[in-house]
């Protein structure tokens, strides 16, 4: 039987980031058929990838599906996976592109069928550190976030991806361009248009309030 000895490569446990050499050994072993090594690669990257997809699309269950699909694509590409990029970078790219496809499909579906998901009504304070705020401030913050999230939902798939990668993932524009396979100039335009669209959405809301 093939002996994987995955534990010896994960000295710091799954929570610690893995060095490039250990990762390359795991990739080689997974390629040779060691399932334990593939699972170790999944464990190392799962939180980051699910969080990335969730930040981009705003739905946890679908984010897990997208992350799973990215890992499955990694699995089928192991034979041709070159060592010149890290597994994390490869997954980042795949998840981001899958999210863009997902957002485009969702937008089309909503437009065609006036489709509304149950989780569209989720509490916008759910993932924020607002527990200690007084009731009235929580109310204002909730309404404010609802407006912002509505604005984010109205962005094009690519604008939303660029905004998420820049604001939430805090990646530099050059890296975002590489992930999305577009020029840096195009990323700048998407970021600028996203901010403009959000500003317009917020201004609309302010006019409503007055």
């Amino acid at each position: 039987m093939y002996f994987c000895a995955v534990d010896t490569l994960l000295g710091g446990g799954y929570a610690q980031p893995m060095d490039a050499r250990s990762e390359s050994i795991l990739v080689d072993r997974a390629r040779e058929g060691c399932e334990q090594s593939f699972e170790a690669l999944v464990m190392q990257n799962s939180e980051k990838m699910i969080r990335l997809a969730w930040r981009m699309i705003g739905n946890r269950a679908d984010a897990e599906e997208i992350a799973q699909e990215a890992f499955l694509r990694l699995y089928t590409s192991l034979g041709t996976f070159r060592g010149d990029s890290r597994v994390g970078t490869w997954l980042y790219r795949t998840v981001s592109r899958l999210c863009i496809d997902y957002l485009r499909r969702e937008k089309l579906r909503r437009r065609l069928f006036f489709f509304k998901r149950e989780d569209d009504d989720f509490d916008p304070l759910q993932n924020t550190a607002a527990e200690d705020l007084p009731q009235d401030e929580r109310f204002i913050l909730r309404e404010d976030l609802r407006t912002v999230r509505r604005g984010i939902a109205s962005l094009s798939a690519r604008q939303r991806a660029v905004l998420t990668l820049r604001h939430q993932e805090q990646l530099p524009l050059r890296e975002i361009a590489a992930i999305l396979g577009v020029s840096e100039g195009s990323v700048k335009v998407h970021l600028h248009r996203a901010v403009q669209a959000l500003r317009a959405e917020l201004a609309k809301e302010n006019q409503h309030d007055e």
């Binding site: 999944v42 699995y75 089928t76 924020t128 999230r149 335009v189």
Partner: protein
């Protein structure tokens, strides 16, 4: 009132996200100090940025393990599926070859030979289908296991 030195909306957006390169950033700073109109536009974009949420999510160790196991099981299913597809394609190619042989053989002697080879090929095909059936059984078992896991 804007003038030719005023910052474009794109420059302001990049400024707000700290993405203007060094020299351009310094020039923007100097201009903003003197231009109330650009300052107002910059402030409105900075407000948008400040209002953007930072969503945080953590997976527990148990959730990570569960997810990894699910992905590994799906990977095995996909592998088995692609193997089935490959066998199917190979069997189809062999059958097509046999039919072509039977059609293009010139006389009766070769017709008999072709019939023999068709029979042999059918036997090989049956053996491969037996393996495919085993794979299908395995897949069904895995799905059943997953269903039972889901029910706890």
């Amino acid at each position: 009132m804007t003038n030719k030195h005023c910052l474009s909306e794109q420059q302001l957006a990049l400024y707000v996200f700290g993405e203007l390169p060094g020299e351009q950033h310094r020039r923007a700073d100097a201009h903003l100090a003197d231009c109330p109109d650009c300052r107002r536009r910059q402030a409105s974009l900075a407000e948008v940025r400040a209002r953007l949420p930072r969503d945080e999510m953590e997976l527990s160790a148990a959730e990570e393990r569960q997810f990894a196991a699910r992905v590994a099981a799906a990977a095995q299913r996909r592998k088995a599926g692609s193997r089935l597809q490959a066998w199917g394609a190979a069997a189809t190619a062999v059958a097509a070859g046999a039919i072509a042989l039977a059609i293009f053989t010139p006389d009766n002697v070769t017709f008999e030979r072709a019939q023999q080879s068709r029979q042999q090929l059918a036997e090989i095909d049956l053996v491969e289908h037996m393996e495919m059936l085993e794979e299908l059984e395995l897949l069904e078992m895995m799905e059943l296991l997953e269903m039972l896991e889901g029910k706890g």
